[in-house]
């Protein structure tokens, strides 16, 4: 009896057509630009757009390394990101816990929608309003504080308060997203365990610490990384509210890179972008590593 054919991998055939437009767009407007950016970071800015760009090796990176503005920008970016991520995750978790708790009965959906509204708002419009709310003389915040006899808030005009002001605005825009995520994760928590804890006599804090938190750990980790990546890219709020000031206090890496781009210093701008990208890749890899580890029993 003649033997049949060997099992071959199913032919890809038709699926080429299906994936082609997607692959094309991803390549042309995603992968190619990234490669180009890395490439450009190794060329002299003045020649970047020409066909024979001048290769300068690590020169652009060296410039960055010795640039005090960049060093400050990096430092501030990391500081801001760390604080923002921490605040966002903690605040989101607490608010999600609150909304999911028994103390809030009716109106849960209303609160949920309300906190998510800033998330879908075009960020430019939102930050424009916040800028005016923070205004020293005419902003609603200071007017209210003044009326209550409280000290005025420096807002975005003072170097000591600008980071906080910017962070509040960004939190306003982002927290809702994480609230909804944690809300969903809390709903997925094992009710059986909670009931067992209740019978064992655990109070609210013990219940949270020993029952909920362990189940939420993977979600907390994943979303912290997600938030990290999101906040490292902080840009719009600076572009709208502070333009990097006052005194470069909010000149984060991504904004500084854009400024350089605007000035035509393509080489250095892309070098900075590449550094940021590498940082994000590193963080993502770390996160995946921890995610895998946390799955082990």
């Amino acid at each position: 009896m003649p033997t049949g054919r060997r099992p071959a991998a199913p032919p890809v055939g038709v699926f080429w057509w299906f994936v082609a437009p997607f692959a094309l767009l991803t390549l042309v407007f995603g992968v190619w630009p990234i490669v180009l950016a890395v490439q450009t970071s190794f060329t002299a800015s003045a020649t970047a757009l020409q066909p024979n760009a001048k290769w300068v090796g690590w020169a652009n990176y060296a410039v960055l390394w010795s640039d005090p503005i960049f060093a400050n920008a990096l430092q501030r970016t990391l500081l801001y990101t760390g604080l923002a991520v921490f605040s966002t995750i903690v605040a989101a978790l607490l608010y999600a816990l609150l909304l999911q708790s028994v103390w809030i009965g009716r109106g849960r959906l209303f609160f949920k929608v309300a906190v998510f509204l800033p998330v879908v708002t075009p960020d430019i419009a939102g930050y424009v309003v916040w800028r005016w709310l923070y205004d020293q003389s005419f902003g609603a915040i200071n007017t209210a504080l003044d009326a209550l006899g409280l000290p005025l808030f420096g807002g975005i005009a003072s170097t000591s308060t600008v980071l906080g002001a910017v962070m509040v605005a960004e939190l306003w825009h982002h927290v809702g997203f994480y609230v909804v995520i944690f809300w969903a994760n809390l709903a997925l928590c094992d009710k059986g365990q909670s009931e067992a804890a209740q019978m064992d006599g655990a109070n609210a804090w013990q219940h949270f610490w020993h029952v909920l938190l362990p189940q939420l750990r993977p979600a907390l980790l994943v979303n912290s990384v997600y938030a990290l990546i999101q906040y490292l890219k902080t840009f719009t709020v600076v572009a709208v509210m502070t333009k990097g000031g006052p005194n470069e206090t909010t000149n984060f890496v991504s904004y500084y890179a854009y400024q350089l781009f605007d000035q035509g210093r393509y080489g250095e701008a892309t070098a900075m972008a590449t550094v940021l990208f590498a940082l994000i890749l590193l963080l993502s890899a770390l996160a995946m590593h921890f995610q895998v580890r946390s799955r082990l029993p």
């Binding site: 009896m1 033997t3 049949g4 054919r5 099992p7």
Partner: protein, 358 residues
Amino acid sequence: MAAVDLRAVSKTYDGRQFAVRAVSLSVPDGELAVFVGPSGCGKSTLLRMIAGLETISQGDIAIGDMRVNDLPARERDIAMVFQDYALYPHKSVMENMAFGLRLRRTPEAEIRRRVGDAADLLQIGPLLDRKPAALSGGQRQRVAIGRAIVRQPKVFLFDEPLSNLDAQLRTDMRAEIKRLHQRLGTTIIYVTHDQVEAMTLASRIAVLHAGQLQQYDTPARLYRQPGNLFVAGFMGSPPMNRLAATLTPQSVEWGGGAFCLRPAGWTAPWPEQVPLVLGVRPEHVMVGPAPADALTGQATVALVEPLGAETLVTLQVGRQTLVCRASSDMTVTTGDTLTFSVHPRHLHAFHPDSGAIW
């Protein structure tokens, strides 16, 4: 309508693990053959190879004398009923059944006729406009069968169609499928892990285990003359009693005692101390007065399970146990000692290691 022939069909993954190993059998035109076996025995894989949903690693499959190894599923003229019904959720019942015909550009009138006939046959006429989500499990199963019927294929393939139904529904549907087969007369290959389904539906049953065909025979012969230990233990509920025994030149010894057993016409020298496995079905273990040439032994009652129509009595014989199907009139209690008997012609002998018939 066509016969299905499998010739040394094998399925391997990465050339090493065999999901199906050299299975050969023939299903004559118009018969209902059942592939049965425990989970993972390869029965579904075999069915899917016939369907064209899995590639064939070795061997040939022919449907109606045509080798189909290289034919894609849509050209094999087969229809399949899936375990989870696999209905198109966004289409109505009517459209679900008509889809295959529409793809083949069957004229509208013909489609309506066939769908109507199938709907009548399966009594799902009033459901034609509904979507699958609005149907019960049993109704969905009928629609899945209807979808297969309208195609008027050469072979029907059923992949554990009743597994997702509750017990009562399963019994009803089983009978319906049998009636359908009698009505339509199409060749059917039916996969199940339930040997009761196999026994009641099949003209012939293929018992599979670990990818290999154990025995392919009529239900009666499978039951009465199991070809190996696996088939003996798989078919029948409660399963056949299997006892470890030793064959000596004088007698056969097993936990309960020894008896003399010499098959007629044995010419070879009588072996010394051969271990073997004796099999006897629970219904052949008699309690009470023994017929003339039956083998008898003493046993203690270990467990009594009244089922209503009969009572299962587990007997302790030495270190081994025997399950006996006793009449429900029997009054025994745990701890009783009694005599049981077995007629030699009801004994099966198997090699302990290979399970082959002795």
